[in-house]
């Protein structure tokens, strides 16, 4: 599953078109989806972004291969970072707390990287000296803090396109849309690649025997400790032997066994699992 969170409709539009996403409404947010991709428009600000990410991530959509993507515009005081340039974010600083967050940069990419500082209100040029070469936005820290509660640091991807040099009165909506649309063609294959790469070698648990173990638990009236011992021993057996353990058949007659006989059966199973 790929989950996009954008602050503005203009940031979302190219991806809605690219993936042919259908609109729904969720908790008052505009939300788009197809079978493998979800996109939510959060509105501006780190709290809005955190709430939107949380709503997405609590829909039981998250797996080891899921990627959580925030893409949007950012300003910067650094004139070397040209308007319309795209940056992959490798560190996020929350301006109000000065706390820093770091997505893991595992998958190879062709983009330039930058740090970003998340502020609480729109900045204009008089503040520019304070921010050095970082990008400046209003969402990334909230988005990351919400995301990291549900996914790992390598599953969080943040892209920013430079919209302005703290001179927002000159912004052209048409130009912004054009820039976002142009970068879509590079960003989408990378996100899909990251998703596929993470899916490729998931640490899969070997096929479980939960149903059989649950039946035995009920029939033998195992204590919680015995149940945990049996579950662990069966899991370890599966990993060591690369095959399932053949549990003894239990029938309704097993229900009538004495406690001594039930405990004897339990110990016998543990003994055999530990061979």
């Amino acid at each position: 599953m790929i989950i996009f969170v954008t602050a503005l409709p203009i940031e979302a539009k190219p991806f809605i078109v690219q993936y042919n996403l259908k609109q729904r409404t969720l908790h008052g947010f505009r939300f788009y989806e197809n079978d493998n991709i979800r996109l939510i428009i959060s509105g501006t600000g780190k709290i809005a972004s955190a709430v939107a990410a949380t709503i997405m991530l609590t829909q039981n959509l998250v797996h080891d291969e899921s990627v959580l993507v925030q893409i949007g515009f950012a300003g910067t005081a650094d004139r070397e970072k040209k308007s319309g340039s795209l940056w992959l974010i490798n560190s996020i600083t929350d301006h109000s707390t000065n706390r820093a967050y770091y997505p893991d940069m595992i998958v190879k990419h062709p983009f330039r990287e930058s740090g970003i500082r998340t502020v609480d209100s729109v900045l204009k040029s008089p503040y520019s000296d304070e921010y050095g070469s970082e990008l400046i936005d209003m969402e990334a820290s909230g988005f990351y803090q919400a995301g990291i509660r549900f996914v790992k640091a390598h599953q969080i991807i943040i892209f920013k396109i430079v919209s302005d040099h703290l001179d927002i009165e000159n912004l052209s909506e048409e130009q912004l849309e054009k820039n976002m649309n142009a970068w879509r063609q590079s960003v989408c294959p990378y996100i899909e690649l990251a998703h596929d790469e993470l899916a490729r070698d998931r640490n899969e648990e070997p096929p479980g025997q939960q149903d059989e173990i649950q039946t035995i638990r009920e029939r033998l009236r195992l204590t919680e400790t015995q149940f945990n011992q049996l579950r662990y021993a069966a899991q370890a057996y599966g990993i060591r032997r690369r095959r399932k353990f053949v549990f003894p058949e239990t029938t309704s007659d097993t229900d009538n066994l004495t406690i001594e006989k039930r405990n004897w059966l339990f110990r016998k199973m543990i003994h055999e699992l530990n061979q």
Partner: protein, 333 residues
């Protein structure tokens, strides 16, 4: 073509570590790496939401300044001379290798490598420690220092330190075949170089990205030729189908290549691990039988049941007994 970033594609640099020689040397070694300034190494190394198995595929480097303490009392899991106190130090955290049974996976939440650049502070505290009391120091304990010697030349620094001490002994343990750092050093009796010489089957199954046994033996021979004291280690000894033949063969292979009189001693240690670390690792990994054998608790650690331990130890003592005198064979743990 790999889709994964190369190791050390990103280097996180604590702001206060700028200005240290080691920081400059390491950064020069990786001119193409992305440098990210950080306030404190724990902001990266200890942050929540890291995946040790995923990070292992593309380890990052963190350069930091360590705060005291620089030395720690050693664990009972390791051998030390009863006549001296055992300490270990952590000039680096984590290892470039990927051994299935490694306790570091359960000890740290990150697979990234931390190198502390304030080596002088470590040496100062170590010198104070051994000024009046005999102490044994392990400097390659939560890392493999020779394996990163081409990145951070810390082995040479510690060996030169040991040479100047009267009351210290020091072990540098490794699986690396790098001996280049020894070339400009004079052997000293305070330093012992210890190689883990697992059977090739164990290397193939459990010690990923490590050099083959034959190359490790070649490294041992080079160190001996240069005049260094060398310790041979079969630690951990791992139980797996075919262990008996594999370990016997590895001892024979070493026996054929390494003159026994050149060996200081040999250490045998059956797999053991802190219970909490094992539980942490089992939450991350279900891909290796090394972590899912039948274990029993001994105090705060887990190991194989007594009869398995005795079998493994007995077989190793017997195999090594054909090679080394018994006073050179030590059982650890």
């Amino acid at each position: 073509m790999s889709l994964i970033n190369r190791s050390f594609s990103h280097i996180y640099v604590e702001r206060r570590s700028e200005g240290y020689d080691l920081t400059s040397k390491i950064l020069k070694r990786f001119p193409d790496s992305q440098k990210i300034d950080i306030a404190h190494y724990k902001d990266v190394f200890n942050r929540p939401g890291q995946s040790f198995p995923v990070q292992k595929k593309s380890r990052k480097l963190i350069l930091a300044v360590k705060e005291p303490p620089y030395l720690y009392k050693g664990s009972d899991f390791c051998y030390h001379d009863p006549n001296s106190d055992f300490y270990y130090t952590t000039p680096a955290l984590n290892c470039v290798y990927d051994c299935d049974y490694c306790f570091l996976q359960g000890m740290y939440v990150s697979a990234n490598l931390v190198i502390f650049v304030n080596t002088g502070d470590f040496l100062k505290e170590a010198s104070e420690l051994v000024r009046d009391n005999p102490a044994h120091l392990s400097v390659s304990y939560e890392t493999d220092l020779p394996a990163i010697a081409n990145i951070a030349p810390l082995c040479a620094v510690w060996i030169e330190w040991a040479a100047a001490q009267n009351h210290a002994s020091m072990e540098i343990r490794t699986k690396s075949v790098n001996t280049g750092y020894l070339k400009h050093l004079t052997p000293n009796p305070q330093t012992v170089l210890a190689w883990t010489l697992s059977p090739q089957t164990v290397i193939d199954r459990y010690e990923h990205r490590t050099p083959p046994l034959i190359q490790r033996i070649e490294a041992v021979k080079r160190a001996i030729q240069l005049g260094w004291d060398v310790r041979l280690c079969w630690d951990p000894v791992i139980f797996f189908p075919g262990w008996e033949d594999a370990y016997s063969e590895s001892v024979k292979t070493v026996h054929r290549s390494v003159p026994q009189e050149a060996v200081s001693d040999a250490h045998i240690g059956v797999f053991r691990m802190n219970t909490r670390y094992l539980k942490n690792i089992q939450r991350l990994r279900m891909d290796t039988d090394a972590l899912y054998q039948v274990f029993e608790r001994r105090g705060e650690s887990v190991t194989y049941p007594a009869e398995v331990r005795e079998k493994l130890t007995g077989r190793m003592i017997s195999a090594l007994g054909e090679f080394l005198p018994s006073e050179k064979i030590r059982v650890i743990g």
